[in-house]
Symmetry: C2
Subunit: 333 residues, 2 copies
C-alpha cells in the first residue's frame, strides 16, 4: 500500500480543513493510499473524531512544533520537531512515498532540498504548478522556488517539465516556451538570452522559442519556462486579475432587474467560465528534482484542494514520476 504523509499543521486552515480533505480523499473509490498525518497528536485525534472514517488507513505521527508563515526559509532545520520537518524526514527515510504541505513555501523548498535531497544532476528543484489555458493546462516552471535563477536552471526546468507533461499528462511531444519580452531569439534579458541557447541545443526538447506573456493563456506552450519571480508574478496576477473581472461581472449582473434575469439565463455559462479559473481539484504543485515527492498546496487551501492533492500524489507515485525524472538526467551523463 502506498503511504503518503500530510503536514496536518501547515497552512491558514490547518488542521481542520487539512484533515477534512484527508477524510474526503479516503472516501473516494479510486483512492487506495494510506495516510500519515503529521502534527500534534491530540489535536489531530480531536479533529478526526468529527468524522466517520476507516481508522486503519490513517496513522498519526506526532510532531510538537509548527512552522508558521512568518518563519524563515531555514525553519525546517531550526524547528526539528515541526510537522513539516518530521514529515520531510519520513520521506527521506522512505517511510512514506511523498508528502503534501500547505505550509510556508520558502521553508518547504529549502527544507525539502536539504532533507530529501536533490536528484543527481539536478542543480535546483523547481515548483511546477499547472495553470489553466484555453486548451487545458500548461505547466509553469518555475512557479516559486528560485527567484535568482541562472540560465542552466531554466534549461533544466524545461527538461523536468517535459518529463512531467509526458508521464503525467500524456502529452506526447510537449511544447516548451521560454517567457520573454519578444519572440525573436536575440530579445530578452541576460538570463533569457543565455537560457534560450541552452534549451535550443537540446534536441530532446520540443522548443518553440520565446513565448510572450500575451500568448500564455492560449496554451500554445505546454511548458512555460521562467524564473520564480516571473512565475510568481504570472500566477498571482492571474489570480488578482481574474478576481477583479469576476467582481465586475457580479456588479454588472446585479445592477437591475433586467441584468438579474440575464444572470439567471447565463447561470451555467458563468459557472463554466468560473470553473476554468477556480481549479481547486488540480492537486497542488510538486517540487520536482528531489529524491522524493513533495507537493506544495496553496496556503489557504480548503479540504477540496487537500483531497485533490492526495489523489494527484497517488497518480504521481503510480507513474513513478521521481524515477522518470531521475532517469532523464542519468541517461544524458
Amino acid at each position: 500500500m502506498i503511504k503518503i504523509a500530510i503536514d496536518a499543521m501547515g497552512g491558514d486552515n490547518a488542521p481542520s480543513e487539512i484533515i477534512k480533505g484527508c477524510v474526503e480523499a479516503l472516501k473516494e473509490e479510486k483512492c487506495t493510499v494510506q495516510l500519515v498525518l503529521v502534527g500534534k497528536e491530540d489535536v489531530i485525534k480531536k479533529e478526526l473524531d468529527k468524522y466517520k472514517v476507516d481508522k486503519s488507513r490513517i496513522e498519526i505521527q506526532d510532531a510538537k512544533d509548527i512552522i508558521t508563515m512568518e518563519d524563515s526559509f531555514s525553519a525546517v532545520r531550526t524547528k526539528r520537531d515541526s510537522s513539516m520537518s518530521v514529515g520531510l524526514h519520513l520521506v527521506r527515510d522512505e517511510k512514506v512515498k511523498g508528502i503534501i504541505s500547505a505550509g510556508n513555501s520558502g521553508a518547504l523548498v529549502a527544507g525539502a532540498t536539504s532533507v530529501v535531497g536533490r536528484l543527481r544532476g539536478i542543480k535546483r528543484p523547481v515548483i511546477a504548478p499547472l495553470m489553466p489555458t484555453k486548451k487545458g493546462y500548461s505547466l509553469l516552471v518555475d512557479g516559486g522556488a528560485n527567484v535568482d535563477a541562472k540560465p542552466e536552471f531554466l534549461y533544466q526546468f524545461a527538461k523536468i517539465g517535459t518529463v512531467y507533461m509526458q508521464e503525467c499528462l500524456h502529452v506526447k511531444n510537449p511544447v516548451v516556451g521560454l517567457v520573454n519580452i519578444g519572440t525573436e531569439e536575440e530579445k530578452g534579458n541576460q538570463l533569457t538570452k543565455e537560457a534560450y541557447k541552452l534549451i535550443k541545443e537540446d534536441k530532446n526538447i520540443n522548443f518553440m522559442g520565446n513565448l510572450e506573456a500575451r500568448e500564455i493563456p492560449s496554451g500554445v506552450a505546454d511548458i512555460v519556462v521562467c524564473d520564480a519571480f516571473v512565475g510568481n508574478v504570472i500566477l498571482k496576477f492571474m489570480e488578482g486579475f481574474g478576481n477583479w473581472v469576476f467582481s465586475m461581472m457580479k456588479e454588472e449582473f446585479t445592477r437591475s432587474v433586467k441584468t438579474k434575469i440575464a444572470a439567471l439565463l447565463m447561470k451555467s455559462g458563468l459557472k463554466n467560465i468560473k470553473s476554468k479559473f477556480y481549479y481547486n481539484d488540480k492537486g497542488g504543485a510538486p517540487i520536482l528534482g528531489l529524491k522524493g515527492l513533495v507537493v506544495k498546496i496553496h496556503g489557504n487551501s480548503k479540504s477540496e484542494e487537500v483531497k485533490g492533492a492526495i489523489l494527484q500524489v497517488e497518480r504521481f507515485i503510480k507513474t513513478d514520476l521521481v524515477k522518470k525524472i531521475s532517469m532523464k538526467f542519468e541517461e544524458e551523463k
Copy 2:
C-alpha cells in the same frame, strides 16, 4: 502654438491609421496643437488628401527611410533618414515639443536616449504606461525600457512615477508599490531586496512596501515599480488573459437562444467591463527621464489611440512634465 511631431511611418497600421488619428485629433475642440508629420512626403500627402482638414495646422517633414519592427535597437543611428530618427532630431533641436511613435520600441528607447538625451541625474529613461485597475489607473514603471535593471534604476522610477502621478493625474500623495513575491521586506530577488532599501529611505516617496502581483488590479498602488521584463510580462499577460476571458464570455453568451437573450439584457454591462480593458484613448506611454517628450504608442495602434496620444501629449506639455521631473532630480543634488 505647441508643435508635436508624429512618426507617420511607424507601427503596423502606418501611415493610414496614424494620419487618420492626426486628422481626428485636430477636429477636437480642446486640441490646439500644430502637427509635424514625419515620413515620406508623397505618401503622407496622398493620405491627407482623403480628409478635409485644416492644412495650416499640419506640416510635413520629409524622411525617406523607415525603421521596421525587425530593425535592431541601434536603427536610429544607422538609419539617419528614417521618420523616427528625423523626428527625434526635431525634438532635440527644439523644433517640436514632443514626438509620438508607434514604431519599434527598442529603437525608440535607444534612439531617444542618445538623440534627445537623458535629464541630468537620470540613470535610465523609463517607459511609463497607465494600466487599468479597480480604482482607475496605476502607472507601471518600467513598462518596457530596461530589462536588466539595477536597484538604483527602480528607485529612480519610483521618483519619476511620483512626479507623473502628482502633476498629470493630480494624485496628491501617490502610493508607490514595489512588485515582489511577498509583502515582507526581506522577500524577493537581489534586485528587489536592494531597491526596497533605496525607496524606503526616501521620505518624499509614499512607499507602501512590496506589492504582490495579486494586488496590482486592486489599484492599491498608484505607481507600480518593477523592471521592464516583469512590466512587460504584466502588461502582455493582462492583454492575453483579458482576451481569453472575453472570448469565453462570447462563447457562453452565444451558446443558445437563452444566452443570446441574456447577452442583449447585459449589453451595456458588458460594454462597461470591456471599456475598462480596451482603454485606447489613454494616450500611449511616455518615455520619462529624457530632455524632451517622447511617447510610445502600441505597434498596432489605430487612429483612436493616435488621437488619444496627441491629446495626452498636449496635456503633458501644458503641465511642463519634463521640467517638473528635471526639477525633482536637480533639487536633491
